[in-house]
């Protein structure tokens, strides 16, 4: 549905997007993740034809956004970071304006009624946009993107500035829209991406540094297979018991974090799954387990790790993928070790 290859955007000496390439299939929900100023909005603006790329191509459903902008734009509904609203119009008037602007062929009244129903703005249809709350304005922004029923929805930080209840509502809305549309949304809120998106593209300083499902990302990056255990019982005895378990490489007591319990950090040998064994041993001794979690990285930690890495020079033509990142990370670690020594 969307093909982007070798995209560059330069502002004088400043490079906002470096060699971005990715493709998005029909019906996917993609999350652009990255710190502020990473280039998420720039890529979105290029995809929607608001900005031109210095180099590279972007095609929507086979139509190049530069060579065939009208056809490409017809397939896109765009919600920019700041919803583009004529605040002196009522919601209905504004949606009718967008309907006219986009030259939509669908029957007018039912189409707009349907959109209002989907984004739940039926009650405020006849109010002036300037009198609406931020949450409603955001919804009107999404509604205008939906006018004409485009195949692709590009939403730039759709939940920014909303209260938690509204965030959940908008998120559910996006998930619902994702069933019938291809959706790209950007965010710097990780849980949002995790909750809604099937695939994450992490962007930092203009470079795509990762492109995978949230699960793959955590699996790839967390070499750490260790577990954290919380048990109620005598610390030293538990420690001894745990150490005797076959497959456990290392056990470390983390001390008391909840009254009456002790926390342990367990590192299993390579691929061993020691959870069942831990349970059986501890239950035999009548030491109740309060918690047993994997210490795998959350998306948040992955994000921090990835974005704190030094970005490769833009001259490297190949896509900077996960594998390269791991290499740099490793070399970074050895550097650190050396300096410590």
């Amino acid at each position: 549905m969307i093909e982007v290859s070798g995209l560059y955007k330069r502002y004088g000496n400043h490079v906002a997007v470096k060699n971005a390439s990715f493709s998005i299939k029909k019906g996917e929900i993609i999350g652009f993740l990255g710190p502020n100023g990473a280039g998420k909005s720039t890529i979105m603006n290029i995809l929607t034809g608001y900005l031109s790329a210095t180099q590279g191509t972007a095609t929507i459903d086979g139509f190049d956004i530069m060579d065939n902008p009208l056809e490409a734009k017809r397939r896109i509904g765009y919600l920019p970071e700041i919803p583009p609203l004529y605040t002196d119009m009522t919601v209905r008037e504004y949606l009718e304006f967008m309907y006219g602007l986009k030259k939509v062929k669908l029957p007018k009244k039912p189409h707009i009624d349907e959109i209002c129903k989907i984004v739940k703005i039926e009650d405020v249809q006849h109010r002036l946009i300037k009198n609406l709350s931020k949450g409603y304005r955001q919804r009107v922004g999404i509604a205008q993107a939906l006018v004409g029923n485009p195949d692709v929805l590009i939403l730039d930080e759709p939940t920014v500035g909303l209260d938690p209840k509204q965030i959940i509502e908008i998120r559910n809305l996006i998930a619902r829209l994702g069933k019938t549309h291809t959706v790209i949304l950007s965010s710097h809120i990780l849980s949002e991406i995790q909750a809604v998106c099937e695939r994450v593209i992490i962007i930092n300083r203009g470079v795509i540094i990762a492109d995978a499902t949230p699960e793959d990302l955590s699996a790839k990056l967390s070499e750490d297979k260790s577990l954290v255990l919380r048990v109620s019982g005598p610390e030293s005895e538990i420690l001894k018991t745990l150490q005797t378990i076959n497959g456990v490489a290392e056990v470390e007591s983390l001390g008391q974090r909840e009254s009456g319990t002790v926390d342990f950090h367990i590192t299993p040998k390579d691929t061993a799954d020691v959870r069942r064994e831990i349970f059986e041993r501890l239950s035999n001794r009548n030491w109740p387990i309060y918690m047993l979690t994997s210490n795998a990285l959350t998306l948040e930690q992955i994000f921090l790790r990835l974005t704190e890495m030094p970005v490769e020079e833009p001259e490297t033509d190949e896509l900077v993928g996960l594998d390269n990142q791991e290499d740099t990370e490793d070399s970074e670690k050895t550097d650190k070790k050396e300096s410590e020594e």
């Binding site: 034809g49 608001y50 602007l101």
Partner: protein, 233 residues
């Protein structure tokens, strides 16, 4: 194009801007009507001629927010990502602004009708004068629109347009005082009011028509470039 035209027309009448333009315009043309009527002289083309300089004030009010407001409220993002040509956006706005000025000037037609109730008048002379006035309006609007597209601030847009209108309307008179020959000649060539007032006598000079039309076209083109510039920045 029609969506943008409708939206802009609506914007004039849901804010005071449209009414202010009409009020100023009606006040001035009404004043001259009163004077000519009082003297018993049915010179509706002279009313037009006298009322034209006030366009210097009306046009900047008319065009000040035409493009700058979109930029300020980031609506240009919706316009530029919608499946429309930039030309359509510009022409929609241009025709809305011109229609607004037509409404302002329409009172002149009413005066002419009132005069013609008393005496038999030559409609062609008046029509010639009115068309010239609209050509003048078109040229000033195109220029004002271009200026509006350069800034996000309606205030700056207004002041710059006011200055630009003053310049093109009375350029030769200002420059005439300096007394440099070639400069005066150049200024006379660009003097809008001179060109416009020539037609008020009833002679539609093709050169003047071409001048106004090409001036309008150039500034409409520049406005398009200015709007599109964003993409290439």
């Amino acid at each position: 194009m029609s969506a943008i035209f409708k939206r802009e027309m609506r914007a004039y009448f849901t804010s005071p801007i449209g009414y202010i333009q009409m009020a100023i315009s009606f006040l001035f043309s009404g004043f001259y009507f009163y004077v000519y009527y009082g003297y018993g002289y049915p010179g509706s083309e002279y009313i037009t001629l006298n009322a034209a300089p006030i366009l210097m004030l009306i046009v900047p009010i008319n065009t000040m927010r035409l493009m700058s407001e979109d930029k300020r409220q980031k609506i240009d993002q919706a316009l530029l990502t919608a499946p429309v040509n930039i030309g359509e956006i510009i022409m929609g706005k241009f025709f809305a602004a011109l229609t607004m000025l037509f409404i302002c000037n329409s009172m002149l037609i009413v005066y002419h009708i009132i005069f013609s109730c008393y005496v038999t008048l030559n409609w062609l002379i008046f029509l010639n004068c009115f068309v010239s006035l609209m050509l003048l309006c078109a040229a000033l609007v195109a220029m004002g629109m271009f200026i509006s597209s350069l800034t996000e601030s309606t205030a700056i847009s207004f002041i710059l347009s006011l200055f630009a209108c003053l310049l093109v309307m009375f350029f030769s008179q200002l420059v005439g005082m300096i007394g440099v020959d070639w400069l005066t000649k150049t200024a006379e060539f660009f003097d809008f009011y001179e060109r416009f007032s020539a037609t008020a006598t009833g002679v539609l000079n093709l050169a003047d028509v071409v001048f106004f039309v090409s001036f309008t076209a150039i500034f409409l083109f520049l406005s398009m470039r200015s709007l599109e510039k964003k993409r290439w920045a």
